[in-house]
């Protein structure tokens, strides 16, 4: 059985935050996980590598990037969107 996109993203964020997988819920925010800007850039790199996608993200203007990072659920949705766009 393949691990879902959501599970893999949660695992990436858990590793970045040095937390147990169970502590990374869909409602978690980067702030609540204690992931700072450099940690986020690292996590995005890990996501790109894991799914072989390119995430549009500029650390200078995260809110302008077409990549919603407001919660774990939002990141999962955004990545699923990028995977779908790539497959299309």
């Amino acid at each position: 059985m393949t691990v879902s996109v959501a599970e893999r993203i949660r695992a990436i964020l858990a590793e970045q935050a040095v937390l147990d997988l169970a502590d990374v819920t869909p409602e978690s925010t980067l702030e609540s996980l204690g992931i700072d800007s450099l940690g986020l850039v690292e996590a995005i790199f890990a996501i790109e590598e894991a799914f072989d996608i390119s995430v549009p993200f500029n650390a200078n203007a995260p809110e302008d990037s077409a990549f919603d990072i407001s919660s774990v659920a939002a990141i999962i949705r955004a990545v699923e969107g990028l995977i779908a766009a790539q497959a299309a």
Binding site: S37, L38, V41, I44, F45, S54, F57, N58, A59, N60, A61, D64
Partner: protein, 402 residues
């Protein structure tokens, strides 16, 4: 303690391949940032830079030299030739024993690394040219300058990322001020605009795909540049005795370390460096008319830098001008402070303040007079030049009108 003056300047950068051309571009607010012309650009997501176009090494160097000189050394030598020619100095006699060169570079011969990694990894070659090491080493430029001009005193290179040039010029200043050297060539260079050099920066996600807009609310990152600038720092008495033209006096220098974060800048670290340079120069904050900002165009740097300036200058901050010429020539990384010192010299000597171009929207967190888009005329007595490096290493120089 000796007084230290600048008696020569030279540069190669995206705006021009000499000082007059660069100052003219500063005064016109011209942008040297263009579409990059480099190998494998299609695999880069960042496609702009302050590249030196039309660079033909064969105009300046013979074939044996080109084999030995990485581009960062070539840029340096051309800048050094201009600076020494302007100073009118000759180091073949005893002066050469009392003269040296200290240059900043963050990456050294990055093009040489890039080309030779390609050869062995991508093309599968098992042999590289015998001069790869002497070509790529960080001190190659300083060493070739010492050889070309017969500088036989203390020479070395400094690598403190984006503050390399300011640290280098600070060392040269200290050496002349203390009497350790009579003349020092100082400055820095960088040539990182190659596939690997840009790819590395892309990874950090702080680069702009459109433009470098320091202090503007809609800024979205830095833009890399390349080139060099070299200055002749000379003992004032020595310069006066030979009636040399003095471009400006170097009066203060300070360095601090944030001891905090490898990439995020620190307001306190920057403020301590600025205040330290003023203290070292015995200058009152009210005398400073112009600051050449580090002003990278990243969200973090520009607001932190403005806060640091406000801390040091208090209400006086509203009366000084601060601009970032990176908007025109890009961020020359280890060479940037050297090229930017030219804007300080222009402010002091010519009374022209280089603008911050590409400025579109005021940012309440950068509420200083950033000389938006258009150069200005003003009489300036003291100018300072900021450089704040990754790794939290800060270096600030203070110059006075000659």
């Amino acid at each position: 303690m000796k007084r230290v003056v600048i008696t020569g300047a030279g540069t190669v950068n995206a705006l021009a391949q000499d000082v007059p051309g660069t100052l003219k571009a500063f005064a016109e607010g011209r942008c040297g940032i263009t579409e990059l012309d480099i190998r494998d650009k299609d695999r880069l997501s960042i496609k702009i830079g302050g590249q030196v176009h039309g660079w033909d090494p064969e105009v300046h160097f013979n074939r044996q030299q080109i084999v030995l000189f990485d581009k960062f050394t070539q840029f340096t030598l051309l800048a050094a030739r201009q600076a020494v020619a302007q100073s009118g100095l000759n180091f073949d006699g005893r002066l050469g024993n009392e003269a040296g060169v200290v240059l900043g570079t963050a990456g050294g011969g990055v093009n040489t690394w890039d080309e030779n990694y390609r050869a062995v990894y991508e093309e599968g070659k098992n042999r590289v040219h015998p001069f790869v090491v002497p070509k790529l080493m960080n001190n190659a430029a300083a060493s070739h300058v010492s050889m070309e001009f017969n500088l036989r005193g203390p020479s070395f290179s400094v690598a403190t990322a984006c503050a390399s040039s300011n640290h280098a010029m600070g060392q040269a200043f200290h050496m002349v001020r203390s009497g350790m050297s009579r003349v020092m060539l100082a400055g820095g260079s960088e040539s990182m605009l190659c596939f690997g050099g840009i790819k590395a920066w892309e990874g950090l996600r702080v680069m702009s795909k459109e433009a470098c807009r320091p202090f503007s609310l809609n800024r979205n990152g830095m833009v890399q540049g390349e080139g060099a600038a070299v200055f002749v720092f000379e003992d004032y008495d020595h310069a006066r005795k030979r009636r040399a033209e003095i471009l400006a006096e170097v009066v203060g220098f300070a360095m601090t370390s944030d001891a905090a974060d490898i990439v995020m800048p620190s307001r306190q670290g920057a403020a301590r460096a600025i205040a330290g340079a003023l203290r070292d120069a015995r200058i009152d904050a009210s005398e400073v008319g112009y600051i050449n900002a580090h002003g990278t165009g990243t969200t973090a740097n520009d607001k932190t830098e403005c806060a640091a300036v406000a801390d040091v200058f208090g209400p006086q901050a509203d009366h000084l001008m601060i601009s970032s010429t990176k908007s025109m020539h890009g961020h020359l990384i280890g060479g940037t402070g050297a090229v930017e010192l030219l804007a300080c010299i222009m402010a002091l000597r010519d009374g022209i303040i280089a603008p911050t171009i590409g400025y579109e929207e005021p940012d309440p967190e950068c509420a200083l007079d950033v000389v938006p888009n258009v150069a200005r005329e003003a009489r300036v007595e003291v100018a300072i030049s900021n450089a704040f490096a990754f790794g939290g290493l800060n270096a600030v120089l203070a110059l006075r009108r000659a």
